[in-house]
């Protein structure tokens, strides 16, 4: 296992956790309007994917629980805080909020809410690279939840990607629930991984609470896609350790499930693993914690000071072109 890869991944997990705890506090203090959606408990899966990708070359389409993946991929914290706090200097300029952010020209599209819709989008970005003759060594990746696998968009997108044999990795985080809906009301197969074969994808299962396993399995899936083995699907088993959003207490998750191995905290696991594997030390991790807490604080403070959008100066145009000197 590549030491730097694992360290990158772990640092992203840690940073994301600290950032998200702060977002949660801000939400509860009424400083964030709309919703706050956390990836707590899902950082290992997300960061393993983000850390396997190279910004500037690869494509990563994160979903709602991918703060860790975004950070690992290289999204600056300030993009997050600006978007949540509505700074006009953020990538979405206050026009869209929270996890609906991205920088498409840097290979990170901004999700729309409709689940599954990003799958064909990433496929298309890869198709463009192929048509332009620069697909070599590129990977495109996206994450979805168990619930999103029920969408027609997901199905059509994955199938299309398989037909085109695009170098794509689809990571399904099966956190047992879609909002409040448990797996047994969402699908009837024994394991979502059974779908991989039905699409003609490479299939990989992983324990999402085990960061080293995530690094290995997801890293391998990305390497396979990159190496020309065609599209890959990873199914991770885990639990989200928060509500669906911070408005939700997640009380529908049964206690025994929370207490089961699925409910382990991947970050706590990660700390132990990092130390045991000799990838880091207690001291170093503590230092990171302090450093990142400051970074988070600074990103929040900065975004909070920045101007919010001004409707009088807003450019109210949905099209970029003008016709006869007039906006469309």
């Amino acid at each position: 296992m590549d030491r730097e890869y694992v360290r990158d991944m772990f640092r992203a997990m840690l940073k994301a956790r600290l950032l998200e705890s702060k977002l949660s506090s801000l939400y509860k203090a009424g400083k964030i309007v709309g919703g706050v959606y956390l990836g707590k408990g899902q950082e290992a899966v997300s960061a393993a994917l983000g850390a396997s990708l190279v910004k500037g070359r690869d494509i990563f389409a994160p979903l709602i629980r991918d703060q860790a993946g975004r950070t690992a991929f290289g999204e600056p914290l300030i993009d997050c805080t600006r978007t949540y706090l509505g700074s006009v200097l953020g990538p979405m300029k206050g026009r869209d909020g929270n996890i609906h952010r991205g920088r498409p020209l840097d290979g990170m599209p901004a999700m729309i809410s409709h689940l599954g819709a990003q799958v064909p989008l990433v496929g298309g970005m890869l198709m463009a690279r192929r048509l332009k003759g620069c697909l070599d060594g590129v990977v495109g990746a996206t994450c979805v939840g168990d619930g999103a696998t029920s969408t027609g968009a997901f199905h059509e997108g994955v199938n299309m990607v398989a037909v085109e044999r695009l170098p794509m990795v689809v990571v399904v985080s099966n956190n047992q629930f879609a909002y409040s809906t448990p797996n047994d009301r969402q699908f009837a197969c024994e394991d979502l991984l059974d779908r991989a074969k039905g699409y003609g994808l490479g299939g990989h299962a992983v324990d999402g609470t085990d960061p080293l396993a995530c690094a290995r399995v997801i890293g391998r899936a990305v390497a396979l896609a990159r190496g020309g083995a065609g599209p890959q699907m990873v199914v991770a088993r885990l639990l989200r350790l928060s509500g669906h959003g911070e408005h939700d207490d997640g009380s529908y998750v049964p206690g025994d499930l929370r207490g089961s191995s699925l409910g382990r905290d991947c970050l706590e696991n990660g700390i132990v693993q990092m130390i045991d594997a000799g990838f880091s030390t207690v001291e170093e991790i503590e230092a990171w914690q302090l450093e990142y807490a400051d970074e988070v604080q600074a990103a929040v403070a900065q975004a909070q000071q920045e101007p919010t959008p001004d409707p009088w100066h807003e450019d109210w145009r949905a099209c970029s072109v003008e016709l006869g000197g007039k906006a469309i």
Binding site: T181, R185, T308
Partner: protein
């Protein structure tokens, strides 16, 4: 004790489940969880097996409900947000809407669309899609603006043999309260004069009825203007009798809606008033819609994207001064 708009929706569903064995509810997280907006709270427990959680499959949800309706049931499907009905669009406009004309068998389906903007909801949790559905033959589209209408129109929608798209406004869910659910017996297809007046008519629906009333109050205070507010209640069919009668009294029309500006309810209202009651107008009719961009996230942008009492007053002052 008071009843909110969303309470009324819940109550209506409870009444329907209790009184009509053909009724069942289908939607994401509506069973034990009670729905994203708690519009089905407690119903799964009270009516076992009749309030069912669906997978995240809007297209199949409607397809399923059409099938059940053909077999004599009266399904009510909850979309988690109106915006997600875009994924069910085909089943709504091509399966449900065409069924009666094609086969002679009506489809008594009700689709609940939590609609409209609230601060911070952003482009994909704020849309008003009534015009999209009203365009298609075979659908009835209702847009309750009061607590009592929220209740009675849902009851009436389910009683109807044809598919009804029931647009409930999220902004009204908890903000709008009434001491109790009082009805005035108006059926679907009849508009209501919410506030009588004589100088101008505002034709509105859903949450915009309340903004129109606020604007009317300001103009009364400001200059003694008496603005009549017509609540369309259903946007398909449109009650042109009531609208034209109002315009005949006032001579002036402002059509007001929260949806996007191209097409939509305001265009249909203005076009029909002009075609059917041209001579009634003493001034050019006006329209006020949202701005022509996606619904923005930031509350400050959002508030300037939709019509407000301020922008309605501006439009009305221009209309009155013509």
């Amino acid at each position: 004790m008071s009843v909110t708009y969303v309470d009324a929706i819940r109550e209506a569903q409870e009444t329907l489940l209790r009184e009509d064995p053909r009724v069942f509810l289908y939607g994401q997280d509506i069973s034990k969880f009670g729905g994203a907006f708690k519009a089905t709270k407690g119903l799964a427990e009270a009516f076992p097996g009749r309030v069912l959680d669906s997978p995240i499959s809007e297209d199949a949800m409607i397809g399923m409900a059409v099938g059940a309706a053909i077999e004599g049931m009266r399904p009510i499907v909850e979309m988690q947000f109106a915006d997600f009905s875009s994924v069910a669009f085909n089943q709504i406009v091509n399966q449900a809407a065409t069924h009666y004309y094609r086969t002679g068998v009506p489809v008594p389906l009700t689709v609940r669309l939590p609609s409209g903007g609230t601060p911070g909801s952003g482009p994909f949790h704020s849309q008003s899609m009534e015009a999209i559905y009203a365009h298609y033959p075979g659908l009835v589209v209702v847009t309750p603006a009061t607590v009592a209408d929220a209740y009675h129109m849902l009851i009436d929608a389910v009683a109807m043999d044809d598919p009804v798209v029931y647009c409930e406004h999220k902004f009204l869910y908890r903000w709008l309260k009434a001491p109790r659910i009082n009805g005035d017996g108006l059926p679907i297809g009849k508009a209501r004069i919410t506030r009588p007046g004589k100088h101008a008519t505002v034709v509105a629906y859903s949450a915009m009825v309340h903004e129109a009333v606020r604007a009317a109050e300001r103009l009364r205070d400001e200059g003694g203007w008496e603005i009549e507010v017509v609540d369309l209640r259903s946007v398909k069919p449109l009650d042109m009798d009531t609208v034209l009668a109002s315009v005949s009294r006032t001579g002036r029309l402002l059509a007001l809606g929260e949806a996007f500006p191209w097409g939509g309810v305001t265009a249909e209202v203005v076009a029909r008033v002009c075609a059917e009651g041209f001579h009634l107008l003493d001034a050019p009719p006006r329209r006020l819609n949202s701005r022509d961009t996606p619904v923005p996230y930031h509350p400050k942008l959002w508030a300037a994207h939709r019509p407000t009492p301020e922008s309605i007053c501006i439009a009305l002052r221009e209309l009155l001064s013509f």
